[in-house]
Symmetry: D2
Subunit: 301 residues, 4 copies
């Protein structure tokens, strides 16, 4: 359980005191505010604040298009049109601020999404907590034999046990040593900014992360994808559920055009057209490489 | 007056219906929501939405610094510390969305601030309104004789009258021609995306502009500065008043360290130290150029 | 002709003096350096500097993937893989700096691409040249009757003549008045930063524009697209030709996956699969809106 | 020594083959190309490519200011003017690409500078090398007693020895375990993307990092500062030396206005003016907090 009783009490207190506002309010998002959605063994995602809703997207788009747009029958149609045609600026008009607790090796992937605001817990200034990500046995996977950056089968029996034992004991030892080096009991005590270098990448950190909806969709498209590493994908999936409650129409369009969609190259279009015309096309005859053909047939058979 | 009765009625309606929220609320900002602050002859600035308050800055900074920070006595001291040491990320945790109506030549300067989200009224899609910025006589200034990009004395008598007459009649004629080219009355009607090219840079456009507080402060520092062009400075000043009500502590620190502060070069520091030691220093002896020395003596005499 | 003899002499001089460098060199790009590619009636695009080539993309990707990547047979396959899987960071390792002369209404669309560096000629500081974009008759199009932001048929006879006469005479008059207001002959002379407001949006400005290859591809995808306004599309097309000479492999992948590709929604995939299975699908039965269906059938019949 | 003989041979080969280019060439930078500047025990900084020089800054600024600027006597004066007045866009016209090898805890600070392009060695795809940062004894500092995020005195005798022994043995053990978990010798072998979580933050990674000169100056100002952590400061200092050879005029202005300069608040200006008038001002009477006063007197006595 990632929350202490004090933390839960703080959340309860924050949720007990609604205040009036004249701003746009998303009821779906209000239900999530401050609550911790557990991810992995000690991590979480919490919504701290948000700005805008589906209507804010439409409103911003109507400034772009002015009075002429009125002909688009309904808001949902307009939002789908914007998503289909990569009109990203109206989606940038919504913003969300999350509090995330996550292992450092996940944080290192996450931070590569640059168009966001971040305040991370400082291990120069403060002492890290003794919390490490230890995978459950079903997520202890072997190196993939076909994909250099993927996972294969789940580790079996003794090997799994050995790995878990290594991860647990190394985490515990490194943290013991971290405390030992920091200690000012009978010694000077190493600087925090130095002692942290001994901690492994599965220790948990936390940050506030603020991002607009367009860039969040981009994050979700890459990180909720089946090719993303499991440990970041579960964060993306937890956030996706929240977004579905926040801006249901925009999220629906995102699911249809991005998560559930595919991009076809000119070569792939040509192959599909030949197939539609009744022709049977082989890889050698497609203009595609073997890897590209494999990806193509995964979708189209 | 920049607002139509319909627009004012819409604002009144939006302000009449507060809804409960669990988010941070800034009372100072709630008072501004949707209201139009007039700028120039037909322009305005309106707050459409906001996220965060002074406490959100502190909250984000405390994640950065963790428990160790508790020693900073009060929030105001921490915010001043962050501003002094250019710790910009906590200020990025606040966000504001504005609706702005402004002349195109002002919009062209404004858009150079890239770290913001924009949706502008589209003249490809829609027809522009017949509204042009015409300076009041006291802002009809001559070219500066000492500063290539500044203004000098106010134009006098006949010259001022001639200029105003030109600006008014050219605006009216160009708009008449715009309508004439667009007209589908007895002719095909030129495409909007082409007809707009005839409109001068003092016609009004409008946009939604969303920005975080750190980048907004940067905008205000440059555009509320005495060297900024008057026509954008008045927008910056109108926004500054709103920000002072939104995040009073952060704005106070911004005024002290940025708007009211100066940056001294190593050479300028050396000169001031010599002065503090009782020495009289001349430009030739300062290591500074004439222009630099003039700017230096404007502050220090 | 957009270049003066002095400008052409300067270009010739710059091209006459090669110097040795240890950096990556793209022969295709060296042939373009400094030369002006004419666009519209008075505009141009010139390459001023560039960094990197196809090999630099591969080199950066190999750091991402380390030794494991060696298995990808050839550079071209790796570049196509990166493009297909939206791995954008290796493409960001190439950079180009352009000098562009363009009408202000085109510049206003262009600047919306925020991830680039810009230095524009300042009309606060300097005096604008008397150069205006006047469309050729075959680009004088009527408003589209089916697309609110598009063009329809070319204007005919008298109407075309009237439009051209308006554009020419308004441009000339506004520039005459601009000079008249600026003049210090027997009067004070209006400040440049004010006088410019009288100039219409078809006057030419110029800027240095520096962008990385990933963001340039994004620009080209949107602006070389058939839906882009003609007057910006011709700039995108001129730049695309330069890029094809600079990084031919990356450009080939871009053409196949982006310019020639399409994105299919989940609904569109489902329809195509039904068609591949021999079924005839109607719009009412597709889950798509009429607009979406029209766009779908434009590609797939 | 951070380079293998193969790496040194590759560098020598790259440096042996100059090619002609028409681009701007910085002789100072050509001397650095590809060479490894050692930083810390196993790290380095290498220049891989660059674009522009001092003249490119001036050239870009002259487009901003047009013909009017000619009055600024010389390029150096213009560059100093731009730096003094925070005109950042001309500096953005220069770009540099570095290859950096650095410990992960340094990389985590570095990546917070978002306006840059990065390709990092992938530990999902590839196997990390057995290289860890172990501080030299003189950099093994105690936690500061006055600054929560700083270092105090150097650790003495037994304590220093204990810390070094912990860092070395934990690094060795974690890497042994990393290899053991990855091994496919008689077992499946854990996925690389999982095994890496056991590695501590002082293991070395490497990346290509590309940034424009304006953002690089911002990086140097923060990271070459006396308050920056030593382990990132040495990278900043190594880069600063390279930049001084690349764009000597711009670097000189940067040193004078940024590295050697200070920012004074309105309150600090008021105190200095009182001192210049002969008054003695105490902290209680200054309007400044104790911390602010301490920083003020560090500069001004």
């Amino acid at each position: 359980m990632p929350l202490t009783p004090e933390q839960q009490a703080e959340i309860d207190a924050l949720r007990a005191t609604p205040r009036p506002t004249l701003r746009a309010v998303s009821e779906g998002m209000e239900a999530h505010l401050y609550r911790a959605h557990q991810v992995l063994d000690h991590g979480f995602v919490r919504v701290i604040d948000y700005m805008g809703d589906d209507a804010a997207i439409v409103q911003a788009a109507r400034v772009s298009y002015g009075a002429g747009t009125r002909k688009v029958n309904d808001d949902s149609g307009l939002i789908r049109y914007l998503m289909r045609h990569w009109h990203s600026t109206p989606f940038e008009m919504c913003e969300v601020k999350l509090h995330v607790k996550l292992p450092i090796f996940v944080a290192r992937q996450w931070i590569r999404h640059r168009t966001a605001n971040v305040n991370e817990y400082s291990a120069r200034y403060s002492i890290m907590d003794r919390e490490f990500y230890i995978p459950t046995p079903e997520h202890l996977a072997a190196q993939s034999t076909v994909n250099n950056q993927g996972r294969g089968a789940v580790l079996q029996g003794d090997e799994a046990a050995r790995v878990l034992e290594i991860l647990k004991s190394d985490a515990a030892r490194s943290y013991d040593h971290y405390e030992e080096m920091l200690s000012q009991d009978g010694q000077q005590g190493l600087a925090r900014e130095l002692a942290r270098m001994n901690l492994p990448a599965n220790i948990y950190t936390q940050w506030y992360w603020k991002v607009d909806l367009h860039n969040l969709f981009h994050f979700l498209r890459l990180r909720a994808d089946a090719h993303a590493q499991y440990e970041i994908r579960v964060y993306a999936e937890a956030i996706a559920k929240v977004v579905a409650d926040w801006v249901p129409v925009a999220f629906g369009a995102f699911e249809d055009y991005r998560m559930g969609g595919v991009t076809l190259s000119a070569r792939a279009i040509a192959v599909l057209k030949r197939r539609l015309a009744g022709e049977t096309v082989a890889q050698e005859d497609s203009g595609m490489s073997k890897g590209e053909w494999r990806e193509f047939t995964e979708v189209w058979g």
